[in-house]
Structures are given as structure tokens and as C-alpha cells.
């Protein structure tokens, strides 16, 4: 019994040791008079995959969009509370949201490559952020990004053909490569596989799993199985609040809250 207790203490210490790259403190988000997020406090561990799940309109995408201040672009949207990225409040006055969005990349539900060549899709970000001093450096960034996104073998012979000519799954990985090119720390993904077939989904999931070595990933998904398959942590949102957040395994085998149970088992109206 004593040994078990020591193990538990060690486990607790290791749990504490996981570095939290994002700390969210009591965040409220309003769209005009409508409150979309209520007192959300959530920590996101570094170099892990965190899934955000919940029924439509629960606030999970709103939360995701707070992390790179995408909500700033929405009229009448007001964010209160603190979101700390490495200890710095990203809503602080000194924060440049363009630099923030380079550090916190985003991949959307529908693959949205620019109507440009595969090369230029990826080179676009590094060019505007001045990340490459010359053509060779830019080539290097493009190729490494494609490599990291697991796309290089499929496109190396046609880097200058249009990105929109790729299959849906390839386009989505191109968008991931594009996000990687500006050297982010965090990648936000809003249902990145919902428009993909199972094979393309599996490839993107495999890629996400590899990326967690070097990046922190937060993914919104409507697929419970996807959340269960790929993430280490899961947060369940409902009516603008976080009902339950913690280890994915625990949440899908014995959730603590009846609402979580109801939602993930398909009993929720």
C-alpha cells in the first residue's frame, strides 16, 4: 500500500511537471449581448495534443479562436479574462497579433490552399515574416515544411503546380505544411479531418501524432473516436462552459460528470 502511495505521488509530480504552454484564466467571450464562453479556465500542456469536444455551439471553436486572437476580427466580439502564452497575456497591449498568429498557427475544417503553386503556398508566410534571407533559405523552409507535413514524396516533382490541384487530404497536409513554415509553437486545428475520407484522415492523424514531438496541438473535433485516438488531454465544452477536462483515457472510460458521459455515449439531446 505504501509503495502504491509513493507511486501515486510520483505520478502526481510528473503530472505537475508537464509544462503548461497556455494558461487560460476565467475567460468570458461575448458576441454582442450573447455570451459564448463562461469563466473558462484551462491549461494546455506543451508538446501534447489536446482535443476540444462538445455539441455545436458549445464554445469550443470560440475558445480555439481566442488563442490566436482570430476573434478580434469578428465585429462585436469581446474577450475578458486572461490567456497566458508562456506567461504572457496574449490580450495584453504590447502583443502584436500578427506575430502571435505566426507563433500560433491554424488549420481549418476545409482545406484552403491559396490559388498559387504548392511552393508559393508554403513560401508565403516566411516571405511576409521575413524568415528567409535568400532563395536558398526559402527553398530549405519549403522543403522541410513539406517533409514535416509528410507530403514531400507526393509533391516533390510538382512543386510549381497549383496547390488546389491536390487531393483533399493532400491539400489539408499542404495547409499544415504552410502553418509549419512560419515556425509556430502551437497549431490550432478546427475539425481538420471532417472533409476527408478515412485514409486521408488516418494520414493527417498520423501526422498530428508526429508533430506533437515539436509542437503543441489543440484540435476541435466532432468525432469522439478521433479525440480518443489522437489526444492525450480532452476538454468537454457545454453551453459555453468547460464541464470536464483531463486525461483522454479517463474521460472516455470513466468520465466524472454525467453530462460528459451523456455526450460521449450519444445520450445527449
Amino acid at each position: 500500500m505504501q509503495i502504491q502511495q509513493i507511486d501515486e505521488q510520483q505520478a502526481a509530480r510528473q503530472g505537475d511537471a508537464a509544462e503548461m504552454i497556455i494558461k487560460t484564466r476565467d475567460v468570458d467571450v461575448f458576441y454582442g449581448d450573447n455570451q459564448a464562453l463562461k469563466h473558462v479556465s484551462l491549461d494546455i500542456p506543451k508538446h501534447q495534443i489536446t482535443s476540444l469536444i462538445g455539441p455545436s455551439g458549445c464554445g469550443k471553436s470560440t475558445y480555439l479562436r481566442c488563442i490566436n486572437r482570430m476573434n478580434d476580427t469578428v465585429d462585436g466580439c469581446r474577450v475578458e479574462g486572461e490567456i497566458l502564452l508562456d506567461g504572457v497575456n496574449i490580450y495584453g497591449p504590447e502583443v502584436d497579433e500578427v506575430l502571435l498568429r505566426a507563433r500560433v498557427g491554424m488549420v481549418f475544417q476545409k482545406p484552403n490552399p491559396f490559388p498559387k503553386s504548392i511552393y508559393d503556398n508554403i513560401a508565403y508566410g516566411p516571405r511576409i515574416h521575413g524568415l528567409a534571407a535568400n532563395k536558398d533559405e526559402l527553398d530549405e523552409i519549403v522543403l522541410t515544411s513539406l517533409e514535416k507535413a509528410g507530403l514531400i514524396k507526393e509533391v516533390q516533382d510538382r512543386l510549381h503546380s497549383s496547390g488546389t490541384g491536390l487531393s483533399g487530404g493532400q491539400q489539408q497536409r499542404l495547409c499544415i505544411a504552410r502553418a509549419l513554415a512560419v515556425r509556430p509553437d502551437i497549431i490550432l486545428m478546427d475539425e481538420p479531418c471532417s472533409a476527408l475520407d478515412p485514409i486521408a484522415t488516418a494520414k493527417v492523424e498520423e501526422l498530428i501524432d508526429e508533430l506533437k514531438e515539436n509542437y503543441t496541438i489543440i484540435i476541435v473535433t466532432h468525432s469522439m473516436q478521433q479525440a480518443a485516438r489522437i489526444s492525450q488531454k480532452t476538454a468537454f465544452f457545454h453551453l459555453g462552459e468547460i464541464v470536464e477536462a483531463g486525461d483522454t483515457e479517463k474521460l472516455f472510460t470513466s468520465p466524472s460528470d454525467e453530462r460528459t458521459q451523456g455526450y460521449i455515449t450519444g445520450r445527449f439531446g
Partner: protein
């Protein structure tokens, strides 16, 4: 969660798994009852029927397996649904073993009935009744999702073990007094051992129910009372452990 799934057929499938487990448990219990009665009544015909009836339990186990595999493949159950399906797989396999033990008792009854009546059989029905109550309670706990009742069964097995210990010692002395009784006493020891194992299996099911209801197994070690594996009787009849 008391409310049903949005997909109603999912609820029907889960219900069907639950009902099959309860049916298996009911059969296993009546198998035990019949096996013990065939002993006390020296009724070889009843014993034969009991052996035959084991097939029905085997079939129900297959049916639980098939339903569970189908649900795992098609429904991807999670949370309490997942625990129910996994628990059903495990409980069905345990109940199948329990029915096997009952059939084994019945086989030994047929062998015993070929010899003269023996005196030392009274403990078996007492053990049988005790284990039948455990089966009954464990099934009630299963049907009602009652972790407390399951816990009660989990600790109760010690009583069966104690009865088994005393019967074991009693039969050893019988055999020493009259070596002609060795065959029948050995059969009786195996019968008692079968019932004692059934009791153990009920504690396994109780653990599974506690897991199914609470999401975790009981943490403390289960109290155990079977000391027969370390019991020795010396030639002068004295006992050492």
C-alpha cells in the same frame, strides 16, 4: 445516466446483453442447485440432466461474445457503455466456468452413486446454498448496478472458504479411518472444491460489477479463507498448517 441513447437500437442491444448475462447467471445457479440435489437425492438421472444443461450456458456465452464483438465493432462504445460491454464479456466467461463446475459435480454424483451411501455429504448442500445466495446477490447487484451489494458478496466469500476448510479436514480424517472411503471422499473433496471455486468466481464478478458501476476495481486485497493448500493431517490425526 438514466436517459436513453439518441439511437434507440443501441439501448436495445445493451439491454439484450444485460438480459443474456442475467439469464446465464440464473441458469448457472439452477445448475448448481440441481447438481447438489442430485447428490443429496442420489439421483443419477437428475445429474445426467444437469450435465446436459451445460450446453445451454455455453450457447449463451457465445451469444454474449457475439453481441459484444458486434457492438465494439459497430458502436465504438465509450464510458459506461464501454464498461458494460467489457464487463459482459468477462462475466459471461466466468459464468460459463461456474456452470462447468456444476456439471463436474453432477459427473461425480453419477460416479458416487455406484458405491454405498456415505455420511459426510451434509456440508456440500450448506456450501451450495451459500454460493447460490452469492450468485443470486451478484445477479441482483448486476441488474440494479448496485456496487454496494457487489462489495458485500466480494467480502462474503470467506465464509465459503471456512466451510470448505472444515470439510476438507473432516474428509481427510474419514479417509484415514477407513481407506475404503478414499474414492468417494476424494470425489466429495473435488465437489466441495468446485463449489468453493464458484464462490471465488462470484467475487470476480462482484469486482467486475464494482468496476462497471464506479469505473475502478476495489483497491484493497480481497479477504481469503481457503487454507486447504497448506493443511497437513499427521498420521495420529493431529493437524498442522
Amino acid at each position: 445516466m438514466s436517459s436513453g441513447h439518441i439511437v434507440k437500437s443501441y439501448d436495445e442491444e445493451l439491454e439484450s446483453v444485460r438480459n443474456t448475462i442475467v439469464e446465464m447467471g440464473g441458469l448457472a445457479e439452477s445448475q448448481l442447485e440441481a447438481a447438489v440435489r442430485s447428490l443429496t437425492e442420489r439421483n443419477s438421472e437428475l445429474a445426467l440432466k444437469t450435465i446436459e444443461a451445460d450446453k445451454a450456458v455455453d450457447e449463451l456465452e457465445h451469444s454474449v461474445d457475439n453481441m459484444a464483438i458486434r457492438m465494439l465493432a459497430l458502436r465504438s462504445p465509450v464510458a459506461d457503455d464501454l464498461r458494460l460491454v467489457i464487463s459482459a464479456l468477462k462475466i459471461a466467461s466466468v459464468l460459463e466456468r461456474v456452470a462447468d463446475y456444476a456439471a463436474n459435480i453432477a459427473k461425480r454424483v453419477i460416479a458416487l452413486n455406484q458405491g454405498p451411501t456415505i455420511a459426510a455429504t451434509s456440508t456440500i448442500p450448506r456450501m451450495g446454498a451459500m454460493v447460490r445466495r452469492m450468485i443470486d446477490d451478484v445477479l441482483t447487484a448486476y441488474s440494479n448496478g448496485d456496487a454496494e451489494l457487489a462489495y458485500d458478496v466480494w467480502v462474503r466469500d470467506q465464509e465459503v472458504d471456512q466451510l470448505y476448510n472444515s470439510m476438507f479436514r473432516e474428509l481427510l480424517t474419514f479417509m484415514m479411518e477407513d481407506p475404503r472411503s478414499i474414492t468417494s471422499c476424494t470425489h466429495l473433496i473435488f465437489m466441495a472444491k468446485n463449489i468453493e471455486r464458484m464462490g471465488d468466481h462470484m467475487t470476480n464478478i462482484a469486482e467486475i460489477i464494482i468496476y462497471q458501476v464506479n469505473g475502478e476495481m476495489p483497491r484493497e486485497p480481497r479477504p481469503k479463507g481457503d487454507k486447504t493448500s497448506v493443511t497437513m493431517i499427521e498420521n495420529d490425526g493431529s493437524e498442522s498448517n
